[in-house]
């Protein structure tokens, strides 16, 4: 997977044991676009997201059928290098989870994992990642201090910087602002708008205003199915499916 980083999902089903968590999912995510995944709790958005970087491998009795391709490569092929897949597909979690070590070491974690240990090179990566995440000015004087001392919003931006340091092509974000205050949320939304020039972003969100503010396309999940997928504007102003309309007008969820 060197050239293109669009995501193609075809006829995909996912089971946790006997529970059928995703049902016949089909979607195309284009490069350099922000795709928002919305839907009521427990509808499979996060499960879908975690399928794209194979985080579901951690769940013991998780079974997946169908085809999930990034570029030309099926990521569930036997020969797939999961470490390289996750390097190319970064992830930001719902709750900020910086490692209990210095800001610098947090960001240097991924480069070191992939064999970059030269100091000058690491310094560059750390600075550029922090700059991209809009955290450089706040963090440059405390690179050696423990990351746990940052505020919640700063921690989440640190996690974004940490993911960027791995040099990914795709960024998966799982409700990245749901644990943050409105001001930090605004900063991160602005950040996403900047990042989409260089990265393909898939973001799960509970907040429909957020989806309209930041995304190009929106997929609506309900009970493990994608009931509607299209340009964000048309999904919200002119939904094709009655259930989408019910959801976005707040009748359930």
């Amino acid at each position: 997977m060197d050239s293109k980083f669009n995501i193609t999902v075809r006829n995909c089903d996912l089971y946790y044991g006997d529970a059928h968590a995703l049902k016949n999912v089909n979607i195309d995510v284009e490069e350099s676009e922000v795709t928002a995944l919305i839907g009521p709790s427990g509808c499979g958005k996060s499960t879908f997201l975690r399928m794209l970087n194979r985080m579901n491998d951690l769940v013991e009795d998780c079974r997946i059928t169908g085809e999930i391709k990034i570029g030309e490569q099926n990521i569930y092929d036997k020969g797939t290098d999961v470490a390289l897949l996750r390097k190319n597909v970064g992830m930001v979690f719902q709750k900020p989870n910086p490692f209990p070590m210095s800001v610098y070491d947090n960001i240097a974690f991924a480069p070191r994992t992939f064999g970059v240990w030269r100091r000058s090179k690491l310094d560059n990566i750390v600075e550029s990642s922090l700059r991209q995440a809009g955290l450089w000015d706040e963090a440059k004087d405390r690179l050696r201090k423990n990351a746990m001392g940052l505020s919640g919003g700063q921690q989440q931006r640190l996690c974004i910087a940490r993911a960027l340091a791995a040099d990914p092509k795709i960024l998966l974000m799982d409700e990245p602002t749901s644990a943050l205050d409105p001001i930090s949320t605004g900063i991160i939304e602005d950040l996403i708008n900047e990042l989409k020039a260089n990265y393909t972003i898939v973001i799960v969100t509970h907040n429909m205003q957020q989806a309209t503010r930041i995304s190009d396309k929106t997929a609506v999940f309900l009970l493990g199915e994608i009931i509607e997928f299209g340009k964000t504007e048309s999904v919200f102003t002119n939904p094709k499916d009655k259930r989408t309309e019910n959801y976005i007008t707040g009748r359930f969820g």
Binding site: A83, L84, R112, T113, F114, G115
Partner: protein
């Protein structure tokens, strides 16, 4: 494709994993060897004469040690159980953890738990053998052991008291019961399993201790004790006592001790499980 530097990084930690698995193997083997060898060396020398026969220089028996161990269990439990349980009740039912006295008590309990056995021995010697004039005796040894097992009883009893759901206490208060009545008729019965487990663990500790006894009960291996004021020995102390002159008997005593302690621990674990299940039903 993986770069070489990346491959090296991955490999480095795979090696660490292999080392960890090897360490697990070595640890298990070492610990199992301890048990197996003591049993292998000891069990062939165990017979009725050795266990319950009269002691003679030709054929040493552990009858005095068995009796001594029994004495020590009785004395230390009779003293430590009420004090330990009472202490746990005070800590769990009567206080909030912020008070300075409670913090002090907790520190004292923690510190008591960390004092080496031999230092307790010196204390017991100074107080019971010398100051109170008991001489080497089971009563002195038992009382010293009582202080040693106090932290075990306090800590685990307090835990099982805290595990009793608040709603039960409130229910009892709502029916007009006093605090003391609530403690004795509701809280203690609910926590009974856990408390018994803690007492069994304390017995295990009494049976295991040896260094403290050198300085408090003497090390008289050959005479069956007449009463609480006699000097004597215990099973664990007899292992050491025999080890110089009677290596076979030492191993045999060790085997008996090992079986006894393992049995006590298994009993405590089983009771703990019963208790754990009860908790689920309550919650």
């Amino acid at each position: 494709m993986k770069t070489n530097a990346h491959k090296r990084q991955v490999l480095k930690y795979v090696v660490c994993k292999l080392i960890a698995q090897a360490a697990l193997f070595v640890s298990l083997v070492a610990l199992v060897i301890v048990m197996v060898f003591v049993l292998l060396r000891g069990v062939p020398h165990i017979n009725m004469q050795f266990l319950f026969g009269e002691y003679s220089i030709r054929a040493p028996s552990i009858k005095p040690a068995l009796m001594g161990t029994l004495y020590l269990i009785v004395i230390s439990l009779v003293v430590a159980a009420p004090i330990g349980i009472g202490s746990a009740i005070f800590l769990a039912e009567y206080t909030n953890s912020k008070s300075r006295l409670v913090r002090l008590i907790r520190i004292a309990v923690e510190t008591l738990a960390g004092i080496p056995s031999i230092v307790y021995g010196i204390f017991g010697y100074l107080v019971f053998v010398v100051a109170l004039g008991f001489g080497y005796s089971f009563i002195g040894g038992g009382l010293t052991l009582a202080i040693m097992i106090l932290p075990v009883i306090v800590r685990s009893t307090e835990e099982s008291l805290l595990a009793v759901p608040r709603s039960l206490r409130e229910g009892s208060f709502a029916l007009g019961s006093s605090k003391v009545r609530t403690i004795f008729s509701v809280v203690l019965p609910c926590a009974a399993n856990g408390i018994v487990t803690s007492l069994i663990l304390a017995v295990g500790r009494v049976v295991s201790e040896s260094a403290v006894l050198i300085l408090t009960i003497g090390m008289v291996v050959d005479i069956v004790p007449k009463n609480f004021t006699s000097a004597g020995t215990s099973l664990a102390l007899a292992v050491y006592g025999f080890s110089q002159r009677y290596p076979e008997q030492a191993a045999a005593t060790g085997a008996v001790l090992l079986v006894l302690v393992v049995a006590i621990n298994i009993l405590a674990t089983l009771l703990g499980k019963v208790f754990g299940k009860g908790e689920l039903v309550d919650g």
